[in-house]
């Protein structure tokens, strides 16, 4: 789980062009949207692409985004729960 969250932080920074941030700046529980990291709806769509490409985890309904992408931890939990071995 720790490793997965560390990987995710790097991937999120890369995929969303968060050049002003370093992985250690993102807390495991820190909210990614709204006042947290300030991500928006397009970022959520990019995260859907990221999960599909890197983890083969599919999200069909973009309305599920806010729950799944609440924090790095919630993303990691979702991947663990939905990844087919």
């Amino acid at each position: 789980m720790e490793q997965l969250m560390a990987d995710l932080k790097k991937q999120i920074i890369e995929a969303l062009n968060l050049k002003h941030l370093k992985p250690e700046n993102i807390g495991d529980d820190q909210p990614l949207f709204g006042d947290g990291l300030g991500l928006d709806s397009i970022d959520a769509l990019e995260l859907i692409v990221l999960l599909q490409q890197s983890y083969k985890v599919k999200i069909d309904n973009p309305q599920d985004g806010p729950t799944i992408f609440r924090s790095v931890k919630s993303i990691a939990e979702y991947i663990r729960a939905n990844q087919t071995a």
Partner: protein, 396 residues
Amino acid sequence: MKGPVHVAGIGVIAAIGKTVEQCMHSFRQHTSGIGDITLFDSVHRGVLPVGEVKVSNEELADTLWLPKHTSRTALLAIQAAREAVAHAGIDLKKWRTGLISATTVGGMDRTEVFFPDFSKDHSKGKLHDVVNHECGRSTELMADDLGIRHFISTINTACSSSVNAIALGTRLINHGMLDIVVAGGTDALSKFTLNGFNSLMILDKEPCRPFDATRKGLNLGEGAGFVVIVSDRVLQQEKKKSLAVVSGYGNTNDAYHQTASSPEGRGSYSAMQKALEMSKLDVNAIDYINLHGTGTLNNDVSEGTAVKRFFGERLPKMSSTKAFTGHTLGASGGIEAVFSVLALTHQCVFPNLRFETAMPEVDIVPQQKFEETTVNHVMSNSFGFGGNCSSIIFSK
């Protein structure tokens, strides 16, 4: 201001008809143009419904006597513009005539024919497939076809483009710089837009249901719509009938997000406000609104909230015709301007197909059947990515 600017001719091609008359027939019969992709290859064929114009490029090029490699965007535009000009029945060469066309994809459909060969081997691919790629090219082809030299311009402000084209034309006539303007927009379906909108996850896999609580997104469409607008002097001297006058228009920026509208529809509210101010009409004078109504969760709540706040309790009849045509992007404002003029000339309002239940966020019940009724003033809304919001009012 030297008298009003009149609409003297209209022309349209969309999924529900190749001519004004055919579109009118589809409205009366409640016949939607949404269906499967048939004219181009796509992984989304059979999955994502679209509002396709059921005429191949070859057929269009044949009937229009144009070269076979002409881009679909230009073919659709020329078909609609020729109808509008013929309808107006005015010799454009006698007057200072301009052409203002809007498009967002340009010649993308031909570029997509060119690229597979070219990507494999840079000495392959037919160059005549890409010479028309640029957005401005379809306008130049149209100008050549219609014999317009005086003023030619292309606008791209996303999905509000063609309302802005008509507004610019009206302004140029008002300022005495031109006598006649052929204005509107055109866009063809392409893999580029289909894949792009799909990546934004705002395409409905079912036929779209604007303003319905169960809506899941939009269906892309294609087509072109043009109006011939003329000065009062042209109308008098040519002894033509005015179909409608352009009584007001407004454009604002929502300044909220690249693609999403602000939830309360700030930009759309002020666009409607600006248009109404220019028209000097009372808010209750608007009889019908042709809504932007794409069918996305975001647009319909945002637009509905703005409409409700703007019109208060006395809401005019309103509908989104995108359930018939799909969202034709850069062409939508032009196509819907033609429909707005038709509402005035035929004294009718169009149904908002497939609406069943009002959205929980904002209680709007659009027009559900084709209806003949008194229509003196029509408002047409078009909002685009980049926060661009436009509203235009046509009056009898």
